[in-house]
Amino acid sequence: MSATLPQSAGEIAKAVQSGAVSAVEITRAALDRIATEDQSIGAFTDVTSARALREAAGVDQKRRQGGTLPPLAGVPFGVKNLFDIAGLSTLAGSKINRALPPAQADGVLIQRMSAAGAILLGGLNMGEYAYDFTGENAHYGPSRNPLDPTRMAGGSSGGSAAAVAAGFVPVALGSDTNGSIRVPSAFCGLYGLKPTYGRLPRTGSFPFCDSLDHLGPFARNVTDVALCYDTLQGGCAHDAACAGRPVEAVSPVLGQGVAGLRIAIAGGYFRADAEPGALAAVERAADALNTSHMIDVPNADRARAAAFLITNAEGSSLHLDRLRRQIRDFDPETRDRFIAGALLPASWYISAQRFRRQFEDTMREIFTRCDVLLAPSTPCSAPKLGQKTMMLGGRDVALRPNIGIFTQPISFVGLPVAAVPVYVDEPMPYGVQVIAPAWREDLCLRVAAALEAARLGQRGTAG
């Protein structure tokens, strides 16, 4: 979008409502930037220009007729291409899905964004079938990190993060099974929200691992994350995992601050295998929140292991027919993991599911001693594109399976997490997970707002 136009979702909606700018003007500017700049980023796989301009014209017409526009009127957004978009095949980052018939309807969360006046600009790049932390894709090319295009955007919602960080859209939707919102948020310097498991319906999105799949928003500021999240809330009978909670709006409570909140730092596992910068980012966040209280999280390594097994088994089962018929059309980076997952003994998967309740008890006990927990999002900042290994705890280890070591234990038991960008004395940002008890997204975002106010997410602010 043009720098002279409002940039955030909140500002755009206000400007469109007031008539200071039209939704068509905002949409054209966003489409023009995507057309000229996305070749070097790789965020979009489909741009729905005609639809976007038609919907924007509808918003403008409604304004001319008078009355109050909905809260996201004229706000451009994109969605990870595992969301159904009416008229397009739902790619989920794959070559194989290009043969699917076009979706008949938008996914439920797109419908909710559209009903709130937001303008869909298209589908966004992602790691194949969401089995990815890098944002690389053998079929569609990588999502490059707008902060440094030689680096990974992170995955698997790489295009979602890249589109927001590049300024193409103020908000985007992604999915997070093991960290796919929190990892790209960290690498690209963005705010994101992985809500509680079962909070937002996944109806009309291509699954990966039903036990662990979550959907959620990305934005460049906390207010926009909250605005978007409030729009997305509500039950849906077609997603068996959706808990059908009433809408619990967080936008009105963002400014309540953190006074009285017991905030702790996750110790043990969450400090063992991280680069110094990742730990420094957590220290900086803790300092800003005036806490040094550390709480160990026992069995986090086992929680990560169990999440790995559940993902491997369920994901491979989901794709078993495609693996049998079209195995040579898979991205080699996912293929071999899916094959291995299709062969796991059932007892490994069932033990992992049983351990889920046990670890949930562990986390529930921890949250009797604190209200919010801080942990690094990733052990490193954005790696170089094509990088295969990383140093972890003094060892040279495979990059891909280790990017998510700090996000996997948390999503394993469905806890809500706000992803908050934090700069330390390095060119690239890190991410901090702000973790709360189930259904307390309000606490995650209040703390995120406090960290944003302390300007930790702005480059050049580290001491």
């Binding site: 062969l343 796991l344 049983r354 949930e360 399976p401």
Partner: protein
Amino acid sequence: MTTDDTDAYIEAAARIQGLEVDPAWKPNVARFFDVARSMAKLVEDTGALTDAEGAPVFTPRGGA
């Protein structure tokens, strides 16, 4: 199990599942399978899992 066991298991199980495993892919598949095996050992070592409730709960919906 040893790596030889892993290779033999993959070969047999892949055949039963109807999956092609190109010889060029086998080392990588075995590596991922061994990672999963080490993860399973970690989880099983927690013990007392016989008392734990499995996380998935099926609730019959009744009436059509």
